[in-house]
C-alpha cells in the first residue's frame, strides 16, 4: 500500500515539476487534443497549425503583449484520447496546475462543449476552432467563441442556394450517423423540400461502414442530378472508390468533410475532380495573409493544410494574437477585446456576436484540376462551379 501512495506522490511531483516555471519570461499556452482514439486522425491538421504559429511568433521575437513587450511562447500539449471527459480534466490541469497564460482549443465539437464549463468556472477566455453545431448557440457567451461559419442551419440555406444555381432538381442524400452529419441532414431536408428539390434517395449509414455498394446501386438506379454525401473523411474515400466503381454520373457530387484534407486530392488524382465540399477558404484568393499561411504550411509540413481544420485553428490563433496585442494577458481585458474587436484573418475580417462568428459566410469548395477553389458564395468565388464529368 505504501508503494501506491508513493506512486501517487511521485505522479503529483512530476505534474508539479512539469508545471514549475522553467522560463518565467515565456508565455505558456496550453491545449488538449486527440492524439489517440477515435478522432486522432483529424488532429494533426490542427496541431500543425498551432506549431507553425508558435514558430512564427517566436521568429518574430515573441508574442506582442498589450503593445508593451514581446515574449516567446511555449506550447503545452496533452492528449485527451478523443475523450471529452479527459479534455475537461486537462483544461483544469492547464489552468490550475500548469498555470498557463493562454488556452488554445481542442479538436471537435464535443470537446469544445465539455470544456466550456471549465472555462466558465475559471473565467478563462478561449477561442474555439474545430467545432460546429447549432447547440453552440446555447452556450453562455463570455469565455468561449466559435470561428466556424459552417453551422448546420446556415449550411442548409447555402447548400440550397448552390444547388439552385447549379440547376440541380433532384438529389440523393447519404448521411453518416455521426453528429455533424446528422445535424446537417436535419436542417437540409426541410430546406430542400421548401426549394422544390426532390430527394430520390435518403440513406443513413454508420461511421464504420465498410461497403457502400448497396446504397450506391440504389442511387444509380434513381439517377439524381446531385449526390449530397454528408460524410466524414473515411467514408468520403469509400464514396469515391465505390461511386467510381458503380459509375455514379450525377453532375453535382458533394462530400461534407474529407476532400479539404491535403492527402485526399493526392490519392485520387483526377478521379476526385469536380467533387464539392464544405469550406470557405482557399489560397487562390487575393488575401495576402492567406497566401503566406499556405506557403509557410506547405513548406514546413510538405503537404497542404486542411482547408477546414487547419484553417479554423489558424484563424483562432490569429484572433488570439491580435486580442493579446491589444489587451495583454489579463483575462477580463482579453475577454473584452475578443468580444468587441474585429480581427484580420485568412478568411477575412472576423467579429463575434455572442459566441458566434458574425461575419464569415458559409461557403463551399470544389476540386478543380487537383486544386480547391471557393465556388460559393459567388462574391467570394475563386472559380465558378463546374459540373462533375466522369471519374477519369
Amino acid at each position: 500500500m505504501r508503494k501506491f501512495v508513493g506512486a501517487l506522490a511521485i505522479s503529483a511531483l512530476a505534474a508539479a515539476a512539469w508545471a514549475s516555471p522553467a522560463a518565467a519570461a515565456e508565455v505558456k499556452i496550453g491545449y488538449s487534443i486527440a492524439k489517440t482514439g477515435l478522432f486522432a486522425p483529424a488532429a494533426p491538421s490542427q496541431i500543425n497549425a498551432y506549431n507553425l504559429w508558435a514558430e512564427q511568433v517566436n521568429a518574430r521575437g515573441g508574442l506582442d503583449i498589450g503593445g508593451k513587450e514581446r515574449r516567446k511562447v511555449t506550447l503545452i500539449q496533452y492528449d485527451d484520447q478523443s475523450n471529452p471527459g479527459n479534455a475537461v480534466k486537462i483544461y483544469e490541469k492547464l489552468i490550475t496546475q500548469d498555470k498557463v497564460d493562454l488556452l488554445l482549443s481542442p479538436w471537435g465539437t464535443p470537446h469544445h462543449f465539455a470544456i466550456a464549463s471549465v472555462l466558465e468556472r475559471h473565467k478563462f477566455p478561449m477561442i474555439g476552432s474545430t467545432a460546429s453545431s447549432v447547440q453552440l448557440r446555447n452556450m453562455k457567451p463570455g469565455n468561449i467563441w466559435f470561428t466556424t461559419a459552417a453551422v448546420a442551419d446556415k449550411l442548409a440555406t447555402a447548400m440550397v442556394g448552390l444547388l439552385q444555381s447549379a440547376g440541380v432538381k433532384s438529389v440523393a442524400v447519404l448521411t453518416n450517423q455521426l453528429p455533424f452529419g446528422q445535424e446537417n441532414k436535419k436542417f437540409l431536408m426541410p430546406a430542400l423540400k421548401a426549394a422544390g428539390i426532390k430527394v430520390l434517395v435518403d440513406a443513413d449509414y454508420p461511421p464504420n461502414i465498410k461497403d457502400m455498394t448497396a446504397i450506391l446501386v440504389k442511387v444509380k438506379a434513381a439517377n439524381p442530378d446531385g449526390v449530397i454525401g454528408l460524410a466524414y473523411p473515411g467514408d468520403s474515400i469509400l464514396y469515391i472508390n465505390k461511386a467510381r466503381e458503380v459509375g455514379i454520373a450525377a453532375k453535382f457530387q458533394y462530400l461534407l468533410v474529407g476532400p479539404a484534407i491535403g492527402f485526399f486530392r493526392g490519392m485520387f488524382k483526377g478521379a476526385a475532380d469536380g467533387i464539392v465540399t464544405l469550406g470557405h477558404w482557399s489560397p487562390h484568393g487575393d488575401n495576402a495573409r492567406s497566401k503566406a499561411f499556405y506557403a509557410a504550411y506547405k513548406k514546413k509540413f510538405k503537404q497542404e493544410p486542411d482547408y477546414l481544420d487547419s484553417v479554423e485553428a489558424w484563424v483562432s490563433v490569429e484572433i488570439l494574437e491580435q486580442a493579446v496585442a491589444k489587451a495583454g494577458l489579463d483575462k477580463d481585458k482579453l475577454r473584452q477585446a475578443i468580444s468587441t474587436g474585429t480581427f484580420d484573418t485568412i478568411i477575412g475580417k472576423v467579429r463575434f456576436d455572442g459566441v458566434q462568428n458574425a461575419v464569415t459566410p458559409t461557403g463551399f469548395l470544389q476540386i478543380q484540376k487537383g486544386e480547391l477553389h471557393v465556388v460559393w458564395p459567388k462574391d467570394r468565388q475563386t472559380a465558378p462551379l463546374a459540373p462533375k464529368t466522369g471519374w477519369k
Binding site: M1, D79, P84, T96, Q97, Q182
Partner: protein, 309 residues
C-alpha cells in the same frame, strides 16, 4: 469475529483517507483526478462482485455506465439531477436482471465475449435511437459543481468497497466464490446458483449506472460512442486483474496504480501508457493471477511458512 479484518479495513480506510485529503490540496486538478479515481474504484468494485467473486468475467461492464448516463440525459430537466442519476442506476440494474437470465447461462470465455458483444450491441442500439430521435450528442448545461460531483463519486467508491467487504462476509459471497470454483459442485451443496448469479449481476450493475450518470454530469455532454466506449470495460478488467479481484483490496490497489500511472504517462506519452497497460494485463494474467493483493499474500505466506513446511 473482529469488527473488521486488516484486508477489509485497508481498502475502506484508504478510500476514506484519499477522499479526505485531496480537497485539502486546494486545486480543481486534484479534485478532478480524485473524481476519476473514485469512479474507477466504484466500477472495479462492482465488477469484482460478478467477475471476481463469481468468476463470470465481464468484458462489457461499460454497458451499465452507458445506460446510467443515457437515462440521466433522457430525464434531464424532467426530474431533479440526483433522481436522474438514481434512475440511471436502477435502469442499469434492471437491464442486468432482464438480460442476466439468458446471458449467465453462458460460461467461461463465451461469457466474456458475449458481454463484450452485448455492450457493443447496446451502444449501436442507443446510437440508432438517438438518430431516430434526431439527437446528435446532447449538451447538459448547468450540472452540479465539481466539488459536489467529487463527494458523490467518493461516496460511490466507498459504497462499492463496503459492498464487496459485506458481500464477502455474507452467505451470498460464499456462494459466489463456490460458483467461481465449481458451479456444479456449488449447486449440489445447496447454493442457489441461478438466483445468486442473477442477483450479483444486477448488484454489479447498480453502481456503474450511477457512475455513468456522474461521468456525463462531469463532461456535460453525452454521445453514445463515448458513453459506451469499450476501452472503459477494458480498463476495469485490467485494474481488477492488476490489483487482484478476490476481495475489496484489489480494485482499490488496481485503480490507484493505474490512475497514478496514467497521470504520469498518458497526457504526454499516451501510446506508451496503453502499451504498458496491455503488457501489465498479459504479465499479471501469466505470472500473478491474483494481482498485487495476491503478491502481498504470497509474500506473507512465504514469510510465515517454516522452511520445508
Amino acid at each position: 469475529m473482529r469488527l473488521l479484518t486488516t484486508r477489509e479495513a485497508v481498502p475502506l480506510l484508504l478510500v476514506a483517507a484519499i477522499a479526505a485529503v485531496l480537497p485539502l490540496l486546494g486545486s480543481d486538478y486534484y479534485l478532478g483526478v480524485g473524481f476519476i479515481l473514485f469512479g474507477w474504484i466504484a466500477l472495479a468494485q462492482s465488477w469484482t462482485v460478478v467477475s471476481g467473486l463469481a468468476g463470470y468475467i465481464s468484458l462489457g461492464h461499460v454497458v451499465f455506465a452507458g445506460i446510467g448516463g443515457y437515462v440521466l440525459v433522457l430525464t434531464w430537466g424532467a426530474v431533479p439531477v440526483w433522481a436522474g442519476a438514481l434512475l440511471g442506476a436502477l435502469a442499469a440494474g434492471l437491464f442486468a436482471l432482464l438480460v442476466g437470465l439468458p446471458v449467465l447461462r453462458v460460461r467461461g470465455p463465451y461469457f466474456v465475449i458475449l458481454t463484450f458483444g452485448l455492450a457493443e450491441f447496446a451502444k449501436y442500439v442507443v446510437i440508432n435511437i438517438e438518430n431516430a430521435l434526431g439527437r446528435f450528442g446532447r449538451l447538459i448545461l448547468g450540472g452540479p459543481p465539481l466539488e459536489t460531483l467529487y463527494w458523490a463519486m467518493a461516496a460511490l467508491a466507498l459504497a462499492g468497497t463496503l459492498a464487496v467487504v459485506a458481500i464477502r462476509r455474507l452467505r451470498l459471497g460464499a456462494g459466489l466464490v463456490a460458483i467461481r470454483e465449481d458451479e456444479l459442485a456449488a449447486d449440489t451443496i445447496g447454493v442457489p446458483t441461478v438466483r445468486f448469479k442473477l442477483f450479483a449481476f444486477a448488484l454489479s450493475a447498480l453502481l456503474p449506472g450511477f457512475v455513468g450518470a456522474l461521468f456525463v454530469l462531469r463532461t456535460g455532454y453525452f454521445e453514445p460512442a463515448q458513453a459506451f466506449d469499450p476501452v472503459i470495460s477494458f480498463t476495469i478488467v485490467t485494474m481488477a486483474i492488476v490489483g487482484g479481484s478476490a476481495d475489496a483490496r484489489g480494485p482499490v490497489f488496481g485503480a490507484l496504480f493505474l490512475v497514478a500511472l496514467s497521470e504520469l504517462l498518458w497526457s504526454n506519452f499516451p501510446q506508451v501508457y496503453m502499451i504498458v497497460l496491455g503488457a501489465l494485463l498479459v504479465g499479471f494474467v501469466l505470472f500473478a493471477p491474483n494481482g498485487v493483493a495476491g503478491l502481498f499474500e504470497r509474500r506473507r505466506a512465504a514469510a510465515a511458512a517454516p522452511a520445508g513446511g
